[in-house]
Symmetry: C2
């Protein structure tokens, strides 16, 4: 059986995906693994034998300290979904040949739904051919939409960034003595976890958002306009948080409601996004109000400078737990975060068969959503608050957070 | 002569405008001023006698510590420009009647160009009617476009936010092994100071931005496309920083280049902004590249959670200096920041007659701009680097930065 380990990162960036990488690397070293390889650009790079030796890559002083503070996938990423092994076995033969060549015994993959599908397919194929390689998945996604795990590393930091930013936007948007509506567009095609985090802004020191629109609930434009009008009678400046994925009753995304001229840029490309812009147009047309659309865009997934300390620790712990599981002989598993019931927040790393995880999607429970009032209930706030707690300040160099960058 | 002081905030928000307010308030207290009033919504609120007693407003524990960490104008703001005193003397009569009623002897106004115009007009009118009130302006604007002063409080924090965010976006945008162009749109209609700050991202640990487009330089779409194409041959993923105010040779803003259908939203409103979106459309149509537009929008002016320590200190010092100047008998002056020549950065507070400040605009010197290469020269980096240095971490409460919010 192979003696070396390999780790890859896949899917979209988060602020803490590299903390999981640091956890895998450090635990492998602690287990005495001789060589820990990183795959560039996930399995897509592995197919092309794009491997690097992480001992060399992380040889600079403070490398691990910098790594856990560096956003986005340090090793590179891909959005490649493995084909079915029965349909295209050659892909698997290539991958396993590379793994054998580098004497890999332990395979770790940090990612979301598609990445767990990769772990599932590789471990199934490995079992079928009698390979001894152990495949373990480490959850990662800002979207928090993975099944089985209480939450996913990456979500807490994105939620903290969103709540922090919304608090600042509320201060910014209420300074003039005029009627205004600021619409903040937040990621999440099908799950409203990130948008719901905007509700954290409301506190003694902040008016918070007045309206939350999650993709779990059908969006009614007329009701929305009436609601804004009513709210502005009480306080003229309001902030609204909307998921990019909200849809109207006929199933179309709100960002698709623009007439054709708008949905296509001047060069003929249809563009997605623009939900906040559309809603600002709607409000401006129907109400006497100033409007402003703010898209948090990719900023919300890479804001390592305001990462959640809890999230960083858990991401690191999830990486370590994956290694420990592999050394205990597990394969085809994903690390799952279990919230231990009790007064004080505590989270344990457990394991779950990837067959029950991959290709599922966890959305915000409907009974946590106060659809009538465009709000979210206390149960969600109790759930999310521990996940944003604590800070891991950047290491600053001449005024800017320092990152780890691999040599190309 | 009046024994009390009044202070107002005007124009757009910054991360440190409240640090100047804290400086004014604390210095007034140190000078033994009995009552320090705040005007709500600038002179517009003053006209309506919307005054608050700051001793009461700041009575909660830690109020001043929170105030200097709270973004946007705590007192509220306005975009009101005083009429000419010869044309509409009644406005001045109203204002001076309110000032007399509250026994105001010292008047402080924190703001940008329009606010200095207010100081100019009020002090001129005051001199004319023989009023003893002393009027002092305190500079504030993220745009850094005020004349006379080396830089303006607010700029350093916005520059630090932009550079921090661009570093994170560079990490985020380079993870896939594909061709991509991320276009970041930064504030600044006529002055490129903020966009130029994106150049700070380039360092040992960051590829930085490949193209900077400042409003000081005419934008040539064809040259721009050729440049992107050439750069992507060397590195497939690039990040581009553009000012919202860039214009083509005939003087039109780039965001106005869209055909009519694009420049108007589905409800018939013409919208500004969209420079990055337009350029992404252009690149997508002409080159084989993925694109993404990111607008930093108002986030860049209110990100107190990553404020520059230097900027906070200077904003506070500018407030104190204004009070000291008033007590020395000055009026019709603006506090100006003077950079003391020498190896180590040092900044002194000086005074400048507002007649030489108001209604002027300072843009980036053309000899600092490398227009041919879409870059900025070292002279700018030497200028800006001290301004982003140091941090003032937020006071966190359950995972989020705490602010000061006045009771309505």
């Amino acid at each position: 059986m192979g003696v070396n380990a390999i780790v890859g990162q896949s899917g979209g960036p988060t602020a803490v995906i590299n903390a999981s990488l640091a956890g895998v690397y450090s635990a492998c070293k602690a287990h005495g693994v001789q060589r820990v390889y990183g795959m560039r650009y996930g399995v897509q790079g592995l197919l092309k034998e794009q491997l690097i030796d992480l001992s060399q890559a992380f040889s600079q002083p403070q490398a691990i300290e910098l790594l856990i503070r560096t956003p986005a996938s340090c090793l590179g990423s891909c959005r490649y979904k493995l084909p079915d092994a029965n349909a295209q076995v050659s892909v698997y033969e290539t991958l396993f040949a590379v793994l054998e060549k580098y004497e890999i015994g332990y395979f770790f993959y940090i990612g979301g739904n598609d990445s767990m599908d990769t772990i599932l397919k590789l471990s199934d194929y490995g079992r079928r051919i009698g390979s001894g390689i152990r495949f373990i998945g480490i959850p990662k996604t800002i979207d928090n939409d993975l099944a089985v795990t209480d939450h996913t590393p990456g979500y807490g930091s994105a939620a903290k960034y969103i709540a922090t930013t919304v608090k600042e936007l509320v201060r910014d948007s209420t300074i003039y003595d005029i009627r205004s509506a600021t619409v903040v567009e937040i990621m999440g095609r099908n799950a409203g976890w990130l948008t719901a985090a905007a509700a954290l802004a409301r506190d003694e020191d902040c008016e918070g958002v007045s309206i939350l629109c999650l993709p779990e609930v059908t969006f009614h434009p007329e009701r929305f306009v009436r609601r804004v009008k009513a709210l502005q009678r009480q306080s003229p400046s309001i902030v609204i948080a909307v998921s990019e994925g909200i849809r109207v009753a006929d199933g179309r995304y709100v960002c698709e409601l623009s007439d054709d001229a708008m949905a296509v840029d001047p060069f003929g490309h249809k563009y997605l996004g623009g939900t906040a812009r559309y809603l600002c147009g709607l409000l401006g047309a129907r109400l006497d109000t100033k409007t402003r659309a703010v898209e948090l865009s990719t900023l919300q997934r890479c804001a390592a400078h305001t990462a959640s300390g809890t999230d960083v620790s858990e991401a690191y712990a999830a990486g370590s737990a994956a290694v420990n599981a592999a050394f205990e002989g597990q394969t085809g598993m994903m690390v799952a975060l279990l919230r231990v019931p009790g007064e004080t927040y505590r989270c344990e790393m457990t394991l779950h068969d990837v067959h029950g995880v991959a290709n599922q999607e966890k959305t915000v429970p409907l009974d946590w959503i106060d659809a009538e009032n465009y709000g979210i209930r206390g149960a969600f706030l109790d759930y999310v608050r521990p996940l944003i707690s604590g800070e891991l300040p950047p290491l600053y160099d001449r005024g800017l957070p320092r990152h780890l960058r691999l040599n190309q």
